[in-house]
Structure formats: structure tokens, C-alpha cells
């Protein structure tokens, strides 16, 4: 029951992130919101894992945080206008 309330609050936070992704005036705004959305999905995976008692959701959370980091770094270097090899 408590986990259901926590999940609903995280869902409202996700909707706020989606508002910023759709509305954001510049591309860096959208990139910030995508980064935050990825970290929120890790929290969702944690709640799903302790609700169902299985451990592979934590595998999803770990790999999701890894790829979220890589994607954000790639978008940041793309915004900076440099190559990836310097």
C-alpha cells in the first residue's frame, strides 16, 4: 500500500519531466529532462523489485543507469560541438 503511494508520487514526477521534455525551449532543456527521467526510471525499478521480490529488476536498474549516463554524456558532447576523440 505504501509502495503504491510512492509509485504514484513518482508517476506525477515523471509527468512533470515529460512536460519539460515537450515544452523546453532549447535542446539542452530537453536533455536535462531526459537525464532526470532516466534516474526516475531507476527508482521505479527499485520499487518494482521489492514489490515482486525478484532480483532481475535490479539488473535492469543498474544497466539503465549505465546507459543513461552514456547517453547524457553523448548528448552533452554533441551540444558542445566537439568531436568525441579529444
Amino acid at each position: 500500500m505504501v509502495i503504491l503511494v510512492f509509485t504514484i508520487v513518482l508517476l506525477i514526477s515523471t509527468l512533470l519531466c515529460l512536460y519539460r521534455i515537450g515544452r523546453g525551449p532549447t535542446p539542452p532543456d530537453r536533455t536535462v529532462a531526459i537525464d532526470i527521467l532516466g534516474i526516475l526510471i531507476v527508482g521505479f525499478c527499485a520499487f518494482l523489485s521489492i514489490k515482486s521480490g525478484r532480483d532481475f529488476y535490479m539488473n535492469i536498474a543498474l544497466s539503465w543507469s549505465l546507459f543513461n549516463f552514456l547517453g547524457t554524456l553523448t548528448l552533452a558532447k554533441f551540444l558542445e560541438g566537439k568531436g568525441f576523440d579529444e
Binding site: I12, L16, P28, T31, V32, A33, A46, S49, K77, L79
Partner: protein
């Protein structure tokens, strides 16, 4: 008792997540939004993972939650730093009422002070 402590820690974490996303919507500038949302959401997710560790103990879920906690603690400020630097190089303007721009060098710093 252990579940109550875990739920309190997770509740604090979820509150931080919600406040960070509220700052993502409400604040006026890219850099203000980056500061509020990144710090609050990083702390909130770390507290959720700590609550998972307290809730389940040292089984497979707890150890993976500890690994995810350490990974987010290292990578999320790094990503925010790279993102702020990229946005500044891409030419995103500061807010009109911003006081000081120390990354822009001495001239803009003095301009902002005058």
C-alpha cells in the same frame, strides 16, 4: 520495525524526487533547472536505494541496490557537469536577473558586477 525505517527513508527519497521535478518545471533558467533537478533527484534515488537495502537485507536485491547507489552517486554529477558545460558552449543564455557569470572569464565577470 525494519520495514517502518525502510519506508521512512524511501518516503524522504520520493519527496526529494518530487521536489526536484517540481523545480525542473518551475525554475526560469536552464542552469537553475539543472542545479535543482540534478541534486534533488540524485539524493532522492540514493535514498530510495538505501531504503531497498534496509528493506531486504543482504540478499541479491540488496547488493545490486548498493551497486546502483554507488554508480548513481558517481555518474549523475558527472553527467550534469558535462551537460552544463555543453549547454554553455552551445550558447544558452543565462536568466535576465542572474548576478554573476564566473565561467565566462574576467570581462563578463566585471560586466556583471557593474
Amino acid at each position: 520495525m525494519r520495514e517502518v525505517i525502510a519506508f521512512v527513508i524511501m518516503g524522504i527519497g520520493v519527496t526529494f524526487d518530487f521536489l526536484g521535478c517540481l523545480g525542473l518545471v518551475r525554475l526560469p533558467d536552464l542552469y537553475n533547472r539543472l542545479q535543482a533537478s540534478t541534486k534533488c533527484v540524485t539524493l532522492g534515488t540514493i535514498l530510495i536505494m538505501a531504503g531497498v537495502i534496509v528493506f531486504t537485507g543482504w540478499n541479491q536485491i540488496g547488493v545490486k541496490a548498493l551497486l546502483t547507489l554507488l554508480f548513481i552517486l558517481i555518474t549523475s554529477p558527472t553527467a550534469a557537469h558535462a551537460l552544463a558545460r555543453g549547454a554553455y558552449k552551445a550558447g544558452v543564455k543565462l536568466w535576465d536577473k542572474s548576478v554573476c557569470d564566473q565561467y565566462g572569464g574576467e570581462e563578463q565577470h566585471e560586466e556583471a558586477q557593474n
